[in-house]
């Protein structure tokens, strides 16, 4: 009886965020006269979505512990610059490899400051975000970091798709079928209980940041590939898209056992379908920002059970 009840609740959660996504898709299709469903547009939105999804999938692990990672954009900026230099803009394995190593290093630093020096994640995130922006800006000051055609030939839907499928499957396995996944969800549910249960909370929380670092390295490469360059604004604003995407997808603000891989998929897709749809409908830029702001507040409201301090969806 208990098992049946849990299943019903799971279905409800899935239904709510999924219903939102379907509603967005249908409404934008209707209001754009079907233009949003044209093949070329669908492909455009999916590529935009996939590039952000990789970062969101990594960030999901930190969010599962109940933390909020604001450093993603900054880390992506640093990974982009170092990856480009290491691979001279043309060696794909070097670009990805260096990006991932740098991503892990930055994320470790962030995780260490938060978990071992007890500095609030909000501050460390803002610092890394600022540093990352400036690293990218300084690096692109004198040299235009333009990616070689040896790399840009990978700028195809299929390539993004393969990378994203790999990241999502790996994320799913780690989150749902490993002790690590179980532990970080336990930390998010109740860190004190997790600690008394023998879970090394700091170590596992730190490992969640490492996963974010890895995905930031990969995401930096995908963004570089898509734009064909590293710019002074590489990575800027990614953290907001990721956080908003996770919330829209039903990711609990407090993390915990409700964390599901579908959250970043549904949420980020909803965000990008909506952004695309608003432009297709000819909504003025100031109204787009207003819409996103309102949606952000509603997403927080929807994902938070104010009585228990955790989410229902």
């Amino acid at each position: 009886m208990m098992i049946k009840k849990i299943d019903n609740q799971t279905l409800k959660r899935e239904f709510t965020s999924l219903a939102g996504l379907i509603a967005v898709i249908i409404l934008t299709a209707v209001l754009t006269g079907g233009a949003s469903l044209e093949k070329s547009n669908v492909q455009t939105v999916l590529i935009q979505f996939m590039v952000v999804l990789v970062s969101a999938a990594g960030s999901m692990f930190v969010s599962a512990t109940g933390a909020l990672d604001l450093s993603i954009g900054g880390i992506i900026g640093i990974c982009s610059v170092i990856g480009f230099w290491a691979g001279k803009g043309e060696n794909v394995p070097m670009i990805i490899g260096a990006g991932v190593v740098v991503g892990i290093a930055c994320a470790c630093l962030n995780g260490f400051l938060i978990n071992y020096l007890n500095i609030p994640g909000l501050f460390t995130g803002i610092v890394i975000m600022t540093v990352g922006k400036n690293v990218a800006a300084l690096a692109t000051q004198k040299v235009q970091m333009i990616v070689s055609v040896k790399v840009t030939h990978l700028d195809r839907f299929e390539f993004y798709f393969i990378i994203v499928v790999f990241v999502i499957i790996l994320g799913y396995i780690i989150l749902n079928h490993t002790l690590f996944g179980t532990y970080i969800k336990a930390i998010g549910s109740n860190a004190t209980s997790a600690l008394y249960s023998g879970i090394r909370v700091k170590r596992y929380a730190m490992a969640a940041y490492v996963i974010t670092g890895i995905t930031c390295g990969v995401a930096a490469f995908l963004r570089m590939l898509r734009l064909g360059a590293v710019t002074s604004a590489s990575g800027v604003g990614v953290e907001l898209d990721v956080i908003l995407g996770l919330l829209l997808g039903g990711m609990p603000v407090t993390g915990g056992t409700s964390t599901k891989v579908r959250a970043p998929i549904i949420g980020v897709l909803m965000l990008y379908v909506l952004s695309n749809g608003l432009i297709l409908m000819g909504v003025p830029h100031d109204m787009i920002n207003l819409c996103k702001g309102v949606i952000f507040i509603f997403a927080c409201w929807i994902s938070m059970d104010r009585k228990r301090g955790e989410t229902l969806i």
């Binding site: 239904f15 233009a35 455009t44 692109t140 898509r226 360059a229 710019t231 432009i279 909504v283």
Partner: protein, 394 residues
């Protein structure tokens, strides 16, 4: 109870989406047949023949607002719908927005690119979708990129201002009465701003001016926030400084700098000099706070738009890619600033009337070409524009 809560949440999501949709003010099919549009070249009749996307850092500051006003006037006259987007100088956002705008059926893109590096990819996307692309406010400086762009048929070219020469001119003006200066530098990456900074530094050396200190504007998305602490540092730590150079005064930077001079009680002791335009600049000249300002380049997108329009209409002004150049108007006193505000930045007066705008199109004026446009742009001075507006209103 739980079902009711879930239902409430589903309804909430649906309401948000509906609200977002209805805020657009209606619906319609964005895709139209380009061939049909080329058939008619009638004068403005309220009929929308083309649609363009206009991407700029901001449309809410003086520069963006006036640039959009000029473009909108031309667009209204020629039957063009303008869809705007504030990209905050973010290349990733620019690319995504260009893609989305192309899906919405635009015929052309007018863009102030975040950097040279983003132009090839945006040009590639436009080329693939047969959408014309014109760059405003920027000069492509990287040879590799210039070469890469040559192959694109739908990339029409760029329009730029002489940042280096104008910054040198501003420096000379500052050097006339000041020996010790401080300057703001911006987190690098925006080519035009980098050029202004480098030029100020090198010309200051030529003019034997001492740059006592600099302060980096690191907040790219909201640079005005860095102005107040920077000004406080200059005014309190370097009392011998008598001038401050600002590479940009847009997006609230000019207002913040003027407010700092006032709040630190340095009116008359410290002069400001810089680029762009801001609210209260005439008052700042009046109070003796501002000594030089390179401004009025908001007309750049208008001229760029005319290149774009003619190409969309099937009557390009040039068969080759163009590189247009617009002069800044350099203000040094309150009188000229008031004149600029009264005639050029005043929404009541258009830079060009509808009849004049029609003369910028090959359909109405078959002799008009890119050289004629450049010639017109060379005459873009305060005196000429004011005289033309006065004549028109007599």
């Amino acid at each position: 109870m739980r079902n009711k809560k879930t239902f409430t949440r589903v309804v909430s999501i649906l309401l948000i989406v509906m609200m977002a949709a209805f805020m657009s003010g209606g619906c319609g099919s964005p895709k139209e047949d380009k061939a049909d549009k080329n058939e008619t070249q009638s004068k403005s009749s309220g009929e929308i023949k083309y649609k363009i996307g206009f991407l700029h850092t901001s449309f809410s500051d003086s520069l963006g607002e006036n640039a959009l006003r000029c473009v909108n006037k031309a667009a209204d006259t020629l039957g063009v719908e303008v869809q705007t987007f504030e990209d905050g100088g973010n290349g990733d956002k620019q690319l995504s927005t260009v893609e989305n705008m192309i899906s919405s059926g635009v015929d052309g893109i007018l863009i102030c690119p975040a950097s040279d590096a983003v132009i090839p990819k945006i040009a590639e996307v436009c080329e693939k979708n047969e959408v014309y692309l014109m760059v405003c406010f920027r000069q492509v400086l990287t040879e590799e990129i210039k070469e890469a762009l040559k192959g694109y048929k739908y990339y029409l070219g760029n329009c730029y201002e002489s940042e280096t020469d104008t910054a040198a001119m501003i420096t000379d003006i500052v050097a006339e009465e000041n020996e010790n200066v401080c300057m703001f530098v911006q987190a690098p990456g925006m080519v035009a701003v980098d050029e202004r900074i480098e030029s100020f530094k090198s010309q200051a050396a030529v003019d034997n001016m001492n740059i006592l200190a600099d302060y980096t504007i690191a907040n790219i998305s909201n640079p005005s926030e860095d102005i107040t602490p920077g000004m406080d540092m200059f005014l309190n730590s370097y009392p011998e400084a008598t001038a401050v150079f600002l590479p940009g005064t847009a997006v609230g930077m000019g207002e913040a700098a003027v407010a700092s001079v006032k709040s630190n009680g340095k009116v008359g002791d410290v002069k400001l000099a810089g680029f762009d335009s801001f609210e209260g600049m005439d008052g700042a000249f009046d109070d003796g706070i501002l000594c030089a300002l390179a401004t009025a380049h908001h007309a750049d997108p208008f001229y760029s738009f005319m290149v774009l329009y003619n190409a969309m209409a099937g009557t390009p002004l040039s068969e080759e890619q163009v590189e247009l150049h617009l002069n800044y108007m350099v203000l040094t006193d309150a009188e000229t600033c008031s004149e600029l505000k009264e005639y050029i930045l005043n929404p009541e007066y258009d830079l060009y009337s509808s009849d004049e705008i029609l003369q910028f199109t090959k359909a109405e004026n078959p002799d008009f070409d890119i050289d004629a446009l450049q010639k017109e742009m060379d005459q873009y001075t305060l005196e000429n524009v004011v005289e033309r507006i006065k004549n028109r209103n007599e």
